[in-house]
Symmetry: C6
Subunit: 225 residues, 6 copies
């Protein structure tokens, strides 16, 4: 009966990498074999390298922990930045850096291939959500410290009505303008990083195509090389 | 008891064409006899030929697999482009080509007959849906990388509210402008292809009226003739 | 027991007219005796004659099958154009003709009596519905091949949300403008036909007042006289 | 047992007036004693006289059947115009006359007392509803023969969605403008009648204050005097 | 057992004041002891005096019956004007007077203390509701006799849809303008009364602070002094 | 069995501080140990000091009762101003002071660190809610005494419809303008206080970093030093 607990590669002790793999499976899904063409793998590699590179050069981002083009769940790759320590609050500076990092993948696609892919949709959506909250809940735009919280939506409709946050269409337009300004400036920032570190982007992508995954130490070495 | 498994034309072995027919029946519906006039069949033939021709001359489309004016289910004909291989991502280039291809049928109707038919409605709807997603979810318009996902609608209302994607009427107008620009440019592209390959369109239509269905190899020959 | 199956006028065989009457009863309702004044009957006759006359002189309409001022169900008269043969598709040309024909009754009211009646409401509603679909679903207006299908409404709300067709108020205004343009041009067409065939309108109306119903052959004779 | 069927005033035969009273009770409610001041009764009398007078001098209205300042149900008086005969259709001319007649009471209040009362609300509401239908359903305004039926609302929401009648805000504004134009012109007409027949209005009101109810014959005599 | 019916102050007969107190308890709630500062009591006294004074000097208001700064239920004081007799109708003149009277408390706060309190919210709300009905239902504004009844809302949504009163945003703006005009003019009227009777306001307030409640006779004496 | 009722630190009598702690636990949650960096603690200290300092120098605020950077529940610190006595009414002056005090934390963040944090969101939301009610319910803006109560939302939708408070988009824009004006002026006031008492802010923050909590007496001493 012992055998039925054997690990997948017939080892009988649990290594740290087993735990890591288990965690990844839970958060990102199982590894998935794909039959991408070489061009597609290259696009994926530059996309992930774009995230990692921008994260490295904007203010106050946590360090890159892993960059990978191993497909998992619905995604062709991932780049992760687990917080170095517990965070109790977030600053405007960090939120802007997170948005720019999210758009780093698409910036690489545009600069390197002059092409855009559907794969960047989730990055764009997540970044837009943060930008909208900066404007409507956190008071971090030129509209100043004022709350239009329901504009960002809430999980429970009833709550919206309770909280009294109907907004005029004029104010909605100003909110949209501020959100777009944050997105545009953040994307410009992402492109600026990538253009100024174009060689580094190539190095990371090349390494990814060779090894599929780059861990934090190797990433640091690459950056400092 | 054996007899009850006999195929419809009294053969007792299953040929590849039986399997094809079964697949078509499932996806498009059974063949349907119609009493179209010769003018109506001609309109149908040029419509399908329009799809196939545009697909051939825009970038990155999968090759034409079959063009047919056999009526099936609710439709008078169909042109199919099954993907050559698994696709893991889609590019802006391909999405624009798919839209132009969808509008190829209507472009042929307008150019050849100076007439428009209700039969193009589904093509137009499918193309519009893609164009709207390009603008609001994929960040593939002049509005740049920003997400207005709920504007495209979602299957579950609750999700919309949860995700906070209310949009000002000014931004809705900009989105509509971008969507229309994509549709107008794609339709112009479709017409350009058809006008520049007018003779080829006639050839494909004529062949369709003779044979009802053109398979991929024959289509390639026609194009290369 | 035989007697209980006797027909209403004591005949014991079923004639073709019995079947016709049965069909009319099902689609339009039973004949209804009214106590209209002579002026009211005249208004009704000119209204129906207006439909029939316009149908005769616009492109691609099916021929007039019957014109009648026998009141049935909620209506004071009816003019019918059953399709000559199965139709598998509809053209822009035919849809415009159907709209003009629908407005033919009101055009006659206005031109002959300089009066308008509530009786034209259903005609106007049906025509408007077609015009709206031409603009929002069939791509048959100056807005070109683009779909705003939900603007036309759908039977199931859920479907609308699913299909993602929210439209900006700017685009709604353009849609309304196009719909109104189709209606205005179609009404102008209807009036043009009636003004140019004013004598024929009188003949048809006079015959209707005499005989109550004109069948297709008699209608053709009248038109050709 | 006979006694229990005795009529309220101890008569034992049913007179025509008993039947009339029964009908009034069903449609307008029972007679209600009020303690109005003499000023209030005068206001009521002029209001009802206003309806009756306008009805007399606009086109195609049915003749006045009864004018009364006997309070019944929620109303302080009533003026009735039962149709002379069955009507199968309604003309624009008659609808405009009905609107002007509805506003006749308020026109009298304004002209005679330079005051307005809440009592005219139902008249105004009923007249507005007709005016809106003239514009949105009957094609009887400068917007021409086009239907915006759902703008007028329907009893069943589902029906609205089914019928596809969402309207742009530009068109809603045009509709409101047309409705207001009909109301303004009809009110002007009502005031014009009252100003030009000011003496007759006094006569009718005076008679009403004396007798409470004027029947059709007496009304005709008054008008012709 | 008799004792258990003894009144609260050990009397054994019911006096008129017991009945009054019972009625007040039902409509306004029980008396409530508060620990207001002297400044707060003064604010309350001037607020109630403001209502009473304006009521006295606008047209057609019923006479002041009682002014009180005894806190009851959720309110710190009350001023009442029960109708002298049954009313069967209301005039524009009286509605405007009721609005001005409602705003009399706030006008006193502003003029005497140059301060505003949350305590005036219910007065403002009630007055606004009347003003809106004057515009949208009673035809008592410059918009004339036309009904936008659903704009004022109805208790049952279904009723709104049934009655067909959707209004364009242009008309909504005009309605809001008219409502605001009525409110502004009524507030100006209230301030005008208070400014011109400033001494009387002081007298009423002073008496209220001494006696807490002023009955109608005493109020009349004060006014006439 | 006695032991099980012993207090947490083995005392057997309840002290006033036990009751205080119990009350804090109920309203703010239990104390929570955090691993904030020194920079983060400093940000928190200046934020709370900002609230306390502004409260001290605006009109009619209750005195500061406690300032603390002990994390409790979801919050990193708190400053409390329990009312000195029962309040029966609130003035415009006090509401403006409460808004400025709420924004005092963010004003300190901006002035001292030139940074903004997500931690100010709840302050901003609470302040905005008050500002909106001042405009739409309390009649305390340049829009004057008029009620747009439903714009602020209500817990029960049905109530909104009942109360008839639909507002035109023009008026919504004016309301938003007034709300923003109140917020902008209050924030300017908060910054003005902090800039003019910059040294005092440093003192309070330094004391907070040393002692974590400052009680009312110590706060008074600090202010008067």
């Amino acid at each position: 009966m012992r055998e039925q607990y054997l690990l997948r590669d017939n080892r009988d002790s649990i290594l740290e990498k087993d735990i890591e793999e288990a965690a990844l499976k839970v958060t990102l899904g199982s590894e998935r074999k794909t039959l991408q063409t070489e061009d597609e793998r290259k696009m994926t590699a530059y996309h992930e390298a774009g995230h990692a590179l921008v994260a490295q050069y904007v203010k106050d981002m946590d360090p890159v922990y892993r960059v990978s083009i191993v497909a998992r769940g619905g995604s062709l790759g991932h780049t992760s930045f687990p917080p170095e320590r517990d965070r109790y609050n977030e600053t405007k500076t960090r939120l802007l850096s997170i948005i720019a990092t999210s758009l780093g993948g698409r910036a690489a696609e545009e600069i390197v291939f002059n092409e855009l892919t559907v794969g960047a949709s989730d990055d764009i959506k997540r970044a837009t959500t943060i930008a909208k909250k900066m404007v409507t809940e956190f008071g971090m735009s030129d509209l100043g410290p004022i709350s239009y919280a329901s504009v960002s939506g809430n999980m429970w409709i009833a709550k919206d009505f309770d909280e009294g946050t109907h907004v005029s269409s004029e104010m909605e337009a100003k909110i949209d303008t501020e959100v777009k300004k944050i997105m545009d400036e953040s994307y410009a920032k992402a492109k600026e990083v990538i253009l100024s570190k174009r060689e580094m982007l190539n190095k990371i992508s090349t390494r990814l195509l060779e090894k599929e995954t780059i861990e934090s130490d190797e990433f640091k070495e690459l950056i400092n090389s």
